[in-house]
Symmetry: C2
Subunit: 340 residues, 2 copies
C-alpha cells in the first residue's frame, strides 16, 4: 500500500509530498454525476455499494495518495433524530431547528452500529479495494451545532451566537451531546478500518478567538482525547477560515492541522510546533492556465518546506464547475515538483 | 467639536477611547425604519435631507464619537453606468454583470460633482449640524469589482476569481477604472467636508495573500497615494476577514486599519507598526447580558492598550435585530472603562 500520506501525517520523511483533494469524490466529476443522477443525495450516502463506487472514482482518475469516505457531515445528526432534508440547489435543511432544552432532549446519542451501519459497511468494503489509505471523518461539534440551530446553512449564524450568548447552558448541553455522538461515531469508523480521521470545523472561523476557546475547542479536545485512548491513527483537525485560531487549534491535540487558502503555509508553519500541515491551494486557482498553476503549486511546496510533514490539498472543497483535467494536472504537478 | 476620534486616528493621546459603530445609521434603529418606510433604499441614498436625518440619528441616540455619511458602497458604481437594483430581502443586484471588455468599456469614470452631487450635498449639510467628526467612505476596488462581476452579492466569488485567473488583463482593467472613479469620489468627499475617509474592502478576505498582493492591494495603495496629495485627513482601510493580510494592509499607507472580530486586537497590534487600529467587538456579542458585555469590552480595551491609537468599533456592521439599548450600553461601557 502507498502509505506516503500516513507518513506525512506523522511527520515522518516521505519520498514526495502526498496529495488528496477535499470533496475529490464530488459533483465536478461526470462519473459522480452519473451515479448521483439515479438517486437522491441521502440515498447515495446510505447505500454502501454506491458510496464505495464514488469514493474510488477519484483515486484512479486523479491519482491521489488518499481516499476519503464518501458521506456528509450531517449524516450523524440525522441519526441523532434530527429531521434532515436536502433540496436540490438549496443545501441541507433541518426543518425543526433546536430552540430549547425540550428540542435538545429529543435528540439521542446513537449507537453507530445500529444507526450508522451503512457508513461502517462502506469503510469495510473500501478497505478491500483500496491501495491508498482511507480517511474517515465527521463534522466538529460547533459546525454541526450551527446546522441544528440555524436549521441549515447560514450566512451570519445569528441564531447560533444568540444561543451562545444568551443561553450558554443550553448551547453547551447541545455541544456535549454532539460530542458524545461524534466520539462513538469516529471510534466506530476507526474500528471499521478508517486509517486516519478528519474533523471538519467548517464554520469555526466565524468565532472570535475567545469564543472559539470557550464554546468550540474544548469539545474538539475531548473528541481527540477519547480517540487517542482507542486508536493511534492520525487525526486531522480542519478549522476553516481559522488563521487566527491556529495556536488554539494546535492545542486540540490533532496530528495534522488543515489550512484554508487565506494563509501562507510558511507563515502557518512558523506558528505551530510539531503538527503536520495540510493544504492549501485556493480551489478556484485550479482555473489558472497550467503554467501558472504549476508555479503556484511550486510556491506552496517551497513555502511548506519547513513544516513537520506536509499533505498537499486545496484550502477548501473542490468547486463543482472545476474542469477535472485541471485537478488531474494539479496532482501531477505536486508529484512532479516534490520528487515522485 | 469633539475631536477625540480624529486624534486617535492620528495616534495622538486621547482622554478616552472614541467609539463609532459600523452601520450605526441603519435598520436596527426604529427611527431609521420610520424614514426608510416612506422611500426605497436608493431614493433614501439620493435624498440629502433624508441622508442627513438618518446620519444624525445615532449620534444622539448612541452618543458615539464620530458620524459616518449614510450612503452605500455601490452608489458610485451606479454612477459609472452600471444598472443597480435593490430588491427587498435579497440584497443588491446588478442585472448586467461585466463579462468582457465591451461591457467594461460601457462604464464611465463619473465626475462626482455631476453624477454624485447628492453625496457631496449631504456632506455639506451634515457639517453644519455635527459636533463630532464626519467620516466619508467608499468601497475598495476589489470589493466593488466583485459586485459588478458577480451581478450582486456572492458566497464564493467564482466569477470574480475566474476572471482574475483566466482573464487577468480584463480584471486589472476593471480595477483601474473603479480606482480612477474612487479617487475622484473620495477627493470630492474630502473637498465637501468629510473629516476622515474609510475604504471598505468587505470581500478582501476571500483572497489568498499572494492574490491580494497582485490583484487588490496595488489599487488601494494608488487611491491612498492620490488622496495624500490632496488632503491630510485620516484614511482608514478595513479589509474584512483580513487577519492574514494585516502586514500587506499596512503597506496600503492608511493611517488606521479596521479589524474584524476574528483576531485578538493585541495580537494585531504586535504585527503592525505605526498605524492606529479600529475595532473589534463581534457585533453579535451585543446580545450578551450587560455584565458580560462590559467584561468583553474591557478585555478589548486592555488588549488594545499598546496600539498606536485605538478607535473602538464592532468588527462588522451592527446586525439589524440588535436591540438599540445594547448598542447604547456598549458605547457607555467603552466611555466609562476608558476614562471618559
Amino acid at each position: 500500500m502507498n502509505d506516503t500520506f500516513l507518513k506525512a501525517c506523522r511527520g515522518e520523511k516521505t519520498d514526495y509530498t502526498p496529495i488528496w483533494i477535499m470533496r475529490q469524490a464530488g459533483r465536478y466529476l461526470p462519473e459522480y454525476q452519473k451515479v448521483r443522477g439515479n438517486v437522491t443525495f441521502l440515498e447515495l450516502c446510505k447505500t454502501p455499494e454506491l458510496c464505495v463506487e464514488v469514493t474510488l472514482q477519484p483515486i484512479d482518475i486523479l491519482n491521489v495518495d488518499a481516499a476519503i469516505l464518501f458521506s456528509d457531515i450531517l449524516i450523524p445528526l440525522e441519526a441523532m433524530g434530527a429531521k434532515l432534508e436536502f433540496h436540490e440547489g438549496r443545501g441541507p435543511v433541518f426543518p425543526d431547528p433546536i430552540k430549547n432544552q425540550a428540542d435538545l432532549d429529543k435528540l439521542i446519542v446513537p449507537d453507530p452500529a445500529e444507526h450508522l451501519g451503512f457508513v461502517m459497511e462502506t469503510i469495510r468494503l473500501l478497505r478491500k479495494e483500496l491501495n491508498v489509505p482511507l480517511i474517515g471523518f465527521s463534522g466538529a461539534p460547533f459546525t454541526n451545532a450551527t446546522y441544528l440551530i440555524e436549521g441549515g446553512s447560514s450566512k451570519v449564524f445569528w441564531e447560533t451566537k444568540k444561543m451562545m450568548y444568551t443561553a450558554p447552558e443550553l448551547f453547551h448541553g447541545m455541544m456535549q451531546k454532539i460530542t458524545d455522538c461524534t466520539i462513538l461515531y469516529l471510534k466506530a469508523q476507526a474500528e471499521a478500518g478508517a486509517q486516519a480521521l478528519q474533523i471538519f470545523d467548517s464554520w469555526a472561523g466565524v468565532l472570535a478567538p475567545c469564543d472559539f476557546k470557550t464554546f468550540a475547542l474544548p469539545y474538539v479536545q475531548e473528541i481527540i482525547r477519547e480517540l487517542r485512548k482507542a486508536t493511534d491513527i492520525p487525526l486531522i483537525y480542519f478549522a476553516n477560515n481559522g488563521s487566527t485560531l491556529l495556536e488554539l487549534s494546535e492545542s486540540s491535540g490533532a496530528d495534522v492541522l488543515g489550512l484554508d487558502w487565506r494563509i501562507n503555509i510558511g507563515d502557518a508553519a512558523k506558528r505551530v510546533g510539531k503538527v503536520a500541515l495540510q493544504g492549501n491551494l485556493d480551489p478556484f486557482s485550479l482555473l489558472l492556465p497550467k503554467d501558472k498553476l504549476k508555479k503556484r503549486i511550486g510556491n506552496i511546496l517551497d513555502d511548506a518546506k519547513d513544516t513537520n510533514g506536509h499533505i498537499f490539498n486545496l484550502g477548501h472543497g473542490i468547486h463543482q464547475f472545476t474542469p477535472p483535467e485541471q485537478a488531474i494536472a494539479a496532482v501531477e504537478f505536486v508529484h512532479e515538483l516534490s520528487g515522485r
